[in-house]
């Protein structure tokens, strides 16, 4: 099992591309225009990963994380919820 935090920063180009709303997009969507003109924290988060061995070759893995967006993305009209969660399972064979 592993556990740990991380922080993600992005340049203004990435933040604008993912969370910005241009005037053109605003006209064709239901969102007000939103422009991000500076780089900054995209998100911070915590992750947990674990493995269970079913046999010598078969494993089950679980990965979970919670991610909280920084204030620049959070202020975007596209963002409904600043925190997101993920849970992933996999069943694998080790050759």
């Amino acid at each position: 099992m592993f556990f740990g935090p991380s922080i993600t920063v992005a340049d203004k180009r990435y933040l604008q591309d993912m969370y910005g709303v241009t005037n053109q997009e605003s006209a064709s969507s239901r969102h007000v225009a939103y422009s991000i003109k500076q780089s900054g924290i995209e998100a911070t988060g915590l992750g947990f990963s674990a493995t269970w061995t079913l046999s010598r070759h078969y494993l089950v893995n679980i990965d979970a994380a919670i991610n909280h967006l920084g204030h620049l993305p959070t202020d975007s009209p596209l963002v409904e919820r600043a925190s997101g969660h993920v849970v992933a399972f996999s069943f694998v064979y080790t050759w």
Partner: protein
């Protein structure tokens, strides 16, 4: 110092690093998974195993529940194959981390380059919120990364990377993370 407990913990870490090859199926960005989770534990194998096997291969299936896009209220289920091929601690091909090569692969230190992909974002993924926003196409993502283990006795791993999305308007993004194996 209780050497029996240290020996047991070391054996546990050897087991962990050999069997816990990353299998996150939604590892390619964007995803709420932390960047370190895509390669978790692999650098520890070089410390706790003196003779790494030439190849380590895993394959299987996986699924994940995550937001439709970063910031959305709605969630969706993704599924797909899991494939991970590791050539010692030198190179890898993975559904998690793309295709990569560790330029520096010393005991407790890795520096490398890789090429992965970003899944982008489509209007139809969440039509209510994304209509009129256009599609963000899938993009190749070249990455520089590094990982460092503090010590064998305290196997905290510090990992950092910087990556650039090659699609028009993509931009660059960097991560700094840390993780620690939890004892049973």
């Amino acid at each position: 110092m209780d050497y029996s407990k240290l020996a047991n913990f070391s054996r546990f870490l050897i087991f962990l690093t050999f069997f816990t090859m990353p299998t996150a199926i939604v590892a390619q960005t964007p995803s709420p998974l932390q960047e370190w989770q895509y390669s978790r534990g692999l650098i520890l194998a070089g410390i706790f195993e003196s003779d790494l096997p030439e190849f380590r291969v895993i394959s299987g299936v996986g699924s994940a529940i995550q937001p439709i896009y970063d910031g959305s209220r709605a969630y969706r289920v993704l599924g797909g194959p899991v494939i991970n091929v590791q050539f010692k601690d030198i190179a890898f091909i993975s559904t998690c981390d793309g295709i990569g090569y560790n330029v520096v692969h010393k005991r407790g230190l890795q520096l490398g380059v890789s090429i992965a992909y970003d899944r982008g974002r489509k209007e139809r993924d969440d039509y209510t919120n994304l209509i009129g926003m256009g599609d963000k196409p899938v993009s190749a993502v070249p990455k520089l990364f590094g990982a460092w283990v503090v010590s064998q006795g305290f196997p905290l791993v510090i990992r950092a990377d910087i990556r650039h999305l090659l699609r028009a308007g993509g931009g660059s993004i960097a991560d700094l993370g840390a993780y620690f194996p939890l004892a049973r």
